[in-house]
Symmetry: C4
Subunit: 196 residues, 4 copies
């Protein structure tokens, strides 16, 4: 026997965790004061940090976009959904760690790049998996999430066997695709921009 | 004489503090760039950080789950409840400190492990105590919270006299049990998964 | 000519800033891994951090409690109120800096203690001043805020001329008094605990 | 074909990101314990940090004020608006990095000051650009945003060719102007302070 949970608090808490995780990402970017003798070079050398920032921002952003569809049709949530949602938040708020790994290890050594890319891909894969489970439970179509999951798995294998840095850019591509392909949960709009 | 407090703002503020405390936990995980010569070993050596992250995430998560029942039946809150709730938030947002202690001290020395485990258990015990007081005030059954309190007290004694690391795993067990045994505050659902 | 602002978003944003500022306070507490050879002593030496944490937590908590009364009677907010509120948030989210100053400088030297206590008192005084202006605008009685302002001013003078550490404890006293004396904005409750 | 997005969750998530970004700004301010031998001098030497803090606080605050007008007239949001909003949040939550750059580089060397001021201005310009696009989409007048955009562009050119530090103060001026000139989205109030 189970009792329902209040949708509004689960959404407010989830939005809070997404908003904080997405905003903490910037803390991994920083330039050593000693490197400021040649400031433009120091700024340019930080490119892995910028790549990691934009990739993780869009990854978490796309999870937030997908999350809006999850509970749109339900009034109250059952216990399994609430716990799966907690697992999703656990994985999302862990993402700043592999993001920092990626930012530190790109351009350092092939071995460290490979490790960082595999860990990042593993966490992203876990996020997609839990998201797919939640979507299935909510009766939503989840083939887009599955496509992303396969893309992450392919990028991880690629990273292990070939060029890790390319896999990092693949993660950015998957995140851009995820943000671009998200759909809202409300009314259909028949191309509102076309009449202009 | 006392005046009531608005439930919606107390819930929004509490959800905010829970969401931030749970998301800040990841900041204690980090790998020294020098250790990146052997990246997989450096990642494996961070196991106390992962253990501390998951334990504290589930501990705060279970407090948030329990918190949803607290004010479900009341329209407005009295002054004692609002102040007890502030004390609960004080203890919860302090938890990232013992979490970092645990992550740093496990695998360091027996004395430091013992200190970290006792401090962590003490803060967890305080959280359970304030939660039990709040539940009693709200007319909710609080025997689950009491069970957790006894489990924390037992783990602290265990840590002082025997194996501190085992107590750290005990905290994880208590948190998993707390998340698994939480119940919502809404309608009864008669086994919704059984009809499938 | 001016237009009103939406109360709900101003409250949500303010609750967010209060919740984050109060949760960031814990980040100033940390023990150097080298000090872990004697863990209990290292934990005890951190007492200025605990004092600063509890003081600032209760200070921000009391501002949040007072903030709930501010907009309780108004449906929409005018431009001056919204800007004063932004100034209040600027001062509140600055508080983690003097909190860290206090934690670092107590027990270090008389000169550094004095500086930290004066800066802390100055920021607290600014918070009370803006809060009093907001309360006056909202038609609320603000003598409690004024009392706190005078207490902060007295503690600053005390710190400059006599014992800075005692002023730090005075700030804790003011914050405890502020939390204890706050009143809700809702219905009157005729001593709900007396009938038990 | 597109579906609408829920305005309430987009606003809640945006308010969360604004609140966190604005509160994280304080983390870049800190005094080295060694500098505490001469505490007042150490506090005075931190002036670039205070300047950067207030400038970025007011910059983000003004974006939040402008953001309240954006969705005031719409019930639901289309996909382009939701994605532009995500881009706005990406730029806003990146601002703590140029803020830290500014705080570190002012008073260091002319080359580092110039770099920091140009990067800061570039991010501020991006924020204004996305805000102008969002305002145009919402049918709001955006000439104020355009004025700010031109002011940022002028300050960047000034910084490259002449005095970088002066450009940093120009950013503060633009932010103060932006906060002062924001208007609410609700009812007209016919000079409520004049009747007093």
């Amino acid at each position: 026997m189970d009792r329902t949970w209040e949708k509004s608090r689960v959404e407010a808490f989830s939005d809070g965790v997404f908003a904080i995780a997405i905003t903490l990402l910037v803390l991994q970017i920083g330039i050593d004061p000693d490197a400021f003798a040649d400031p433009w070079r120091a700024l340019a050398d930080e490119w892995p940090s910028y790549l990691a920032y934009v990739t993780s921002f869009l990854t978490i952003g796309s999870v937030w976009l997908a999350h809006q569809r999850l509970f749109a049709r339900s009034e109250a949530l059952d216990g399994v959904t609430v716990r799966l949602n907690l697992l999703l938040l656990l994985a999302v708020s862990f993402l700043p760690f592999p993001t920092a790994l990626l930012a530190e290890s790109l351009d350092l050594s092939r071995a460290s790049e490979r490790a960082a890319v595999v860990v990042y891909g593993g966490v992203a894969l876990l996020i997609e998996l839990v998201l797919a489970l939640l979507m299935r439970r909510a009766g939503e179509r989840h083939w887009r999430v599955t496509v992303r999951g396969v893309a992450y798995a392919a990028a991880i294998i690629w990273a292990i066997s070939l060029v890790p840095t390319a896999a990092a850019f693949a993660y950015l591509g998957v995140a851009v695709y995820a943000v671009a392909s998200s759909r809202g949960a409300g009314q259909l709009i028949p191309h509102p921009r076309r009449e202009e």
